[in-house]
């Protein structure tokens, strides 16, 4: 530390100041003392003179008047002898010296002293006085005398010298004391200074300075405490600063490296932050943008009104329509080009006001991509639609003649034929069926490949589905004398097993394919079909095992087994035929169902296919479908049922008519949708038990006709079943959407047709009621003796309330009372399929309780098996 000049140190300044002040005060003291002395002495001398004067005058008056010079002299001598007077001279009125003492007669008398001064340099300081001697107004003369001031001057000098001496000693002693005190003080201050400099230079833990109980010691103690606390605070601040710096660097890195524009506006709407990405995206450099009004800078004119309306509210609350949201807008670049942006706006509260932070992304390119994607999607959808249309058309074009071949051949086979005719026709029929199967496979595979294959998810009875598979297999088994082992003891096949949700048709297709293959490729031995299941919460995992003792396959063959168009090898194709699509389709279907398929095989030993598929369990109580299905086998109910067949193709029309006629159904024909509509509108709504509607027809197709029919509320319960070669899922979905109640593929199985028709008719309550009443009126005679007490037949008939055919099901709803509502609500709450039946049979009687919209909502919900939503709509309508 550089040595400071003494006058720059506290000690030096203190010393100089103290000494200077002291010297000044002492000087003032001395001067004042001398002044006071002078004044006092002056007063004293003057008083002395005034004392002397009257005395001398009194003493001299008489001798002066008497010209008694001796006496005068004596008086003068005596007075001067006292020592305080330098001289005394008495002059007469004429100025003649009469007597004198102490003054030479040849010396002129001094003038009287005007001022009293102690500072005269002469060796005989004197105060000269002249006093006139008068008595009784008679001037007798003058008295001249001089007061010796030597003593006073000496006293003054002595006082001055002593005063100066004392002052000098005092200053010296004070200086010494101050020096010592300063040294003592600054010694500590030096240590403090040194320690402070150490702290300033970065050493936050300097050597402790001396402490003590006095002021300086306490200062030292306080300094030590302060330095310690400073060290701690600095450490904390350093850590915080480092953290903040890291955060700052990170933040800056983030904002600077971000591809999105990050900007901030202050409460004035001016830009306060503008990152490099903002420069690039919007074209304004940071220095151009900062401070500018953001909205005037980049917001297109059409958005400004909304901003101006909302900005004040934002400033007040930090809220706004765009705050906290990501919006797609447009922004204006520096070159006035508008770009599409994605803007995420947020509000931050800084420095007592709301600021807005925006993250802006140029989505122009994305929008262009989206547009292109949209166009591509539209193109793909169009292509997809075209594909679907093509497949549908192909399906229709292929199925229509196939329907004619299969249907007609079937019909012919039902007639009396010669054996050879029967044999030939049987071959023809089987060939047609085989061809149809192949066509179905091809269409299915095409659907799978095109991603058009969708699986249904409806409740089905697994045991029934498996039985159907086995039934189809039995003829082949019987022919080949193969042992069929069916392991069907698993609980999933029990009578009271819950329904599973899935696509029964496709499951049957998979199992049929595997069982058929097992049967086809086994010449002797057995075919074993095993079913096992495991249950989880609401799912059942079913494992199907199809094992045979057939020709088996090699590992290489197994590896290529599920490839399309691949059989084990070409020899298999030659020997056993087949398109090679079956397993490919099977594999796809199993995968779509969420399952797995595995193959184990050994050449000449046989193969074992294991299919594991998870099924969700349908929430059901009793299983009315089981009972109903069992009841649908009785097709006598179709006898006399009147059906309207809407079909334009004569062959299909004939096939269907013949199939219906065999069941005793009375068929009315309409060759297109328009004719069908006219016919229905011309007749009472309960004329027909059902309508079988082709979809693709000239003049008016089946879709349009169905929509027209459904618009008329009186036909709400008239079943309309699609009868079409169009098998695409979307076509089926469209059918249901427009209000059709069922779909029958063409070519169809007559039994399937009858089953579907029967199910549909059973829902046509008005038709049933009307026809039942007529039959009852025609056949029933009321026997009073047979009357059952309480049963009022005519009254019951007049009320058109036929009994329910279903066991365990409440009255279908001829009377919608509290019991019905309670039962329906209960089944609906359980997700019970009974609720669907109850609704289908009785919803038409709920018009006074529910609005048409509610009825429609409930119906649609139940169609989708959404029992929860159906219950909500039902409760809402009930409450209303």
């Amino acid at each position: 530390m550089k040595r400071m000049s003494p006058w720059k140190t506290v000690r030096g300044r203190l010393l100089i100041l103290a000494i200077g002040l002291e010297a000044l005060m002492l000087t003032v003291l001395i001067i004042n003392s001398i002044r006071l002395l002078h004044s006092a002495m002056s007063n004293q001398v003057q008083a002395q003179a005034q004392q002397f004067s009257p005395v001398l005058i009194a003493a001299l008056t008489a001798p002066l008047a008497a010209r008694d010079y001796a006496t005068m002299q004596a008086v003068v001598d005596e007075s001067q002898a006292k020592g305080s007077l330098d001289y005394i001279v008495v002059v007469d009125r004429y100025g003649h010296r009469l007597v004198a003492n102490g003054w030479s007669t040849d010396m002129p008398l001094p003038e009287p002293s005007k001022d009293f001064s102690l500072f005269e340099n002469n060796t005989a300081p004197r105060y000269d006085v002249i006093v006139p001697i008068e008595f009784q107004h008679q001037s007798l003369g003058e008295l001249h005398f001089g007061i010796n001031l030597s003593q006073i001057v000496h006293a003054r000098q002595t006082l001055f010298v002593q005063g100066v001496g004392i002052a000098a000693i005092e200053i010296l002693l004070s200086s010494l004391l101050l020096l010592f005190l300063g040294f003592w003080l600054t010694r500590h201050m030096k240590a403090l200074t040194q320690a402070s400099l150490e702290v300033a230079s970065g050493n936050l833990s300097p050597s402790p300075v001396p402490e003590g109980d006095d002021d300086v010691g306490r200062l030292g103690a306080a300094f030590n405490i302060m330095s310690r606390v400073i060290a701690e605070r600095v450490n904390e601040l350093t850590v915080a600063k480092e953290t903040a710096e890291v955060s700052e660097v990170q933040l800056r890195s983030i904002t600077h490296s971000a591809n999105d524009a990050i900007l901030m506006i202050n409460p004035l709407g001016a830009i306060s932050y503008w990152n490099p990405a903002a420069e690039q995206i919007l074209g304004y450099l940071a220095e151009e943008a900062l401070g500018q009004d953001l909205h005037n800078l980049i917001v297109p004119e059409r958005y400004l009104a909304a901003y101006r309306a909302g900005f004040p509210e934002f400033l007040r609350t930090g809220q706004g329509n765009a705050v906290g949201k990501t919006l797609e807008l447009f922004a204006k670049r520096k070159d006035n080009q508008e770009i599409a942006i994605s803007l995420s706006l947020s509000a931050v509260f800084l420095y007592g006001a709301w600021h807005a932070v925006g993250i802006l992304r140029d989505i122009t390119e994305r929008k262009q991509y989206e547009h292109k994607l949209e166009q591509a999607r539209e193109t793909a959808e169009a292509a997809n639609l075209a594909k679907s249309q093509f497949l549908a058309n192909m399906s229709h074009e292929i199925r229509t003649p196939m329907n004619a071949i299969i249907g007609m051949s079937y019909l012919v086979l039902q007639s009396d034929l010669a054996p050879n005719q029967r044999e030939q026709l049987t071959y023809l029929h089987h060939a047609a069926e085989s061809l149809l199967a192949i066509i179905n496979d091809i269409l299915d595979f095409s659907k799978v490949e095109a991603g058009k294959m969708t699986l249904e998810r409806v409740p089905f009875v697994l045991r029934d589905t498996l039985n159907e598979c086995i039934q189809m297999l039995k003829p082949t088994l019987d022919v080949k004398s193969l042992e069929f082992q069916y392991e069907n003891q698993d609980a999933v096949l029990a009578l009271d097993a819950p329904l599973l949700l899935g696509d029964a048709l496709r499951l049957r297709q998979v199992l049929t394919n595997l069982l058929s293959n097992a049967t086809k490729f086994t010449q002797k031995g057995f075919v074993r079909f095993g079913v096992a299941s495991s249950h989880k919460e609401n799912a059942t995992c079913v494992v199907f095992t199809i094992e045979d003792s057939g020709i088996g396959m090699s590992d290489e063959q197994v590896a290529r087994l599920f490839e399309k168009f691949m059989q084990a090898d070409a020899s298999i194709t030659r020997e056993y035929g087949g398109t090679g699509l079956g397993l490919a389709i099977t594999g796809k279907l199993v995968a779509l169902m969420g399952g797995t398929i595995e193959v184990k095989s050994q050449l000449s030993q046989g193969s074992c296919f294991t299919v594991e598929i998870p099924f969700a369990r349908a929430l059901v109580g009793e299983n009315p479908l089981r009972e109903r299905r069992s009841s649908v086998e009785n097709f006598d109910e179709l006898k006399g049922v009147r059906v309207l067949l809407v079909e334009d193709h004569p062959v299909n029309r004939k096939v269907a008519s013949n199939a219906l006629a065999r069941a005793g159904v009375v068929v009315d024909i309409a060759e297109n949708g328009e004719l069908a509509v006219k016919k229905l509108q011309s007749l009472p709504p309960e004329t027909y038990g059902a309508v079988l509607m082709d979809l693709q027809m000239p003049v008016m197709d089946g879709y349009e006709a169905t929509e027209i029919i459904r618009k008329d509320r009186k036909f709400d319960l008239l079943p309309i079943i699609a009868l079409s070669t169009r098998v695409m899922t979307f076509e089926k979905e469209k059918c249901f959407q427009i209000g059709m109640n069922g779909f029958i593929n063409v070519p169809f199985d007559p039994i399937h047709l009858w089953q579907s028709l029967l199910r549909a008719i059973r829902k046509n309550t008005p038709y049933l009621v009307r026809n039942s009443l007529q039959a009852m009126r025609q056949s029933i005679q009321i026997d009073p003796e047979m009357a059952i007490q309480g049963l009022h037949v005519h009254e019951g008939l007049n009320t058109e309330a036929p009994e329910s055919e279903m066991k365990g099901v409440p009255d279908k709803g001829l009377v919608v009372d509290a019991a019905w509502l309670e039962a329906f609500t209960d089944h609906l709450g359980k997700g019970d399929f009974v609720a669907i039946e109850l609704w289908e049979n009785n919803s038409h009687l709920l018009g006074n309780r529910f609005s048409p919209a509610d009825l429609e909502h409930i119906s649609k919900a139940l169609q989708q098996f959404d029992f929860t939503r159906a219950l909500e709509y039902f409760n809402t309508g009930t409450d209303r």
Binding site: A65, R67, A70, T71, Q136
Partner: protein, 275 residues
């Protein structure tokens, strides 16, 4: 030129009023030291002021330490007017050519004072006594000495004190048995002092204080005389006369001065002994 005209005008003015300005700067009036100089100055202050005003020149009242010195100074022509006792006045007249102007109406008598309750009743009682007198040359002292001689009394001592009030105090204090002073002085004593004293003997009226005009002022005698008589008519003079029991001025009687001849020689001798 202007100054000469002023002097001439002044002279004409004074001449028209009948008053001639005395020559010289100061008009000195010497008064015999019959009492202390202070008393003398005080007594004659009115006269001084009047004459000063009348003549327009400074007027000085002077005295002397004692009668002898006063006589010497008078004979030395130091006074324009000498006011002294008859015997010195005669001496001034005979030896120094002073002209007598006037005197006081009040008789000047000398008295011998003793303690009022003292034992001295007769002149003979003063035998071997201490007697005081004013100055040896004073008239009252000379008379007293003549009285003693006439009564054939030889005092123990005769001392000469200059101030009459002092001699009275000395008698009262016992420092002396008797003193010779003037009746006027006796009468001027404080009553409490006077009551303690008794007049042993009183002389015949003598020429008291006579106003003697120096021959150098003869030209102004008439004016001075007029001024004195004019002063006597002033209230100040009346008061002066009353305070000092002087009753006023009177002209001198025809032989009043000559009657002092008996004392002149002694006075002359005494003055001659005074150095």
């Amino acid at each position: 030129m202007k100054r000469l005209c002023a002097v001439m005008m002044m002279s004409l003015l004074l001449m028209s009023t009948g008053i001639a300005a005395p020559t010289g700067d100061v008009f000195v009036i010497g008064v015999a030291p019959h009492t202390s100089p202070r008393v003398i100055l005080e007594m004659y202050a009115p006269l001084r002021l009047y004459l000063e005003k009348t003549f327009g020149v400074p007027v000085e009242i002077v005295t002397a330490p004692n009668f002898d010195i006063f006589a010497q100074r008078g004979l030395a022509q130091e006074f324009d007017i000498a006011i002294t006792t008859g015997h010195q006045a005669r001496l001034f007249q005979k030896d120094a050519q002073y002209t007598p102007l006037l005197t006081y109406k009040a008789d000047f008598k000398a008295v011998a004072l003793v303690l009022a309750n003292g034992t001295i009743r007769e002149p003979a009682d003063l035998k071997e006594k201490d007697v005081l007198g004013l100055s040896a040359a004073s008239l009252v002292t000379l008379w007293g000495q003549h009285w003693l001689a006439d009564n054939k009394v030889t005092p123990k001592s005769i001392r000469y004190i200059s101030a009459s009030d002092s001699v009275a105090q000395l008698v009262i204090s016992g420092d002396a048995d008797a003193c010779f002073t003037s009746l006027a002085n006796y009468q001027k004593l404080n009553p409490d002092v006077r009551d303690q004293l008794r007049i042993l003997v009183e002389s015949k009226p003598m020429a008291g204080r006579v106003y003697m005009l120096n021959s150098r002022r003869t030209a102004m005698q008439k004016e001075i005389d007029n001024a004195l008589w004019a002063f006597a008519a002033t209230p100040e003079a009346k008061k002066y006369f009353e305070n000092n029991k002087l009753e006023g001025y009177r002209p001198l009687k025809p032989t009043e001065m000559e009657d002092m001849d008996m004392y002149v020689d002694e006075t002359r001798k005494l003055i001659g002994n005074v150095k």
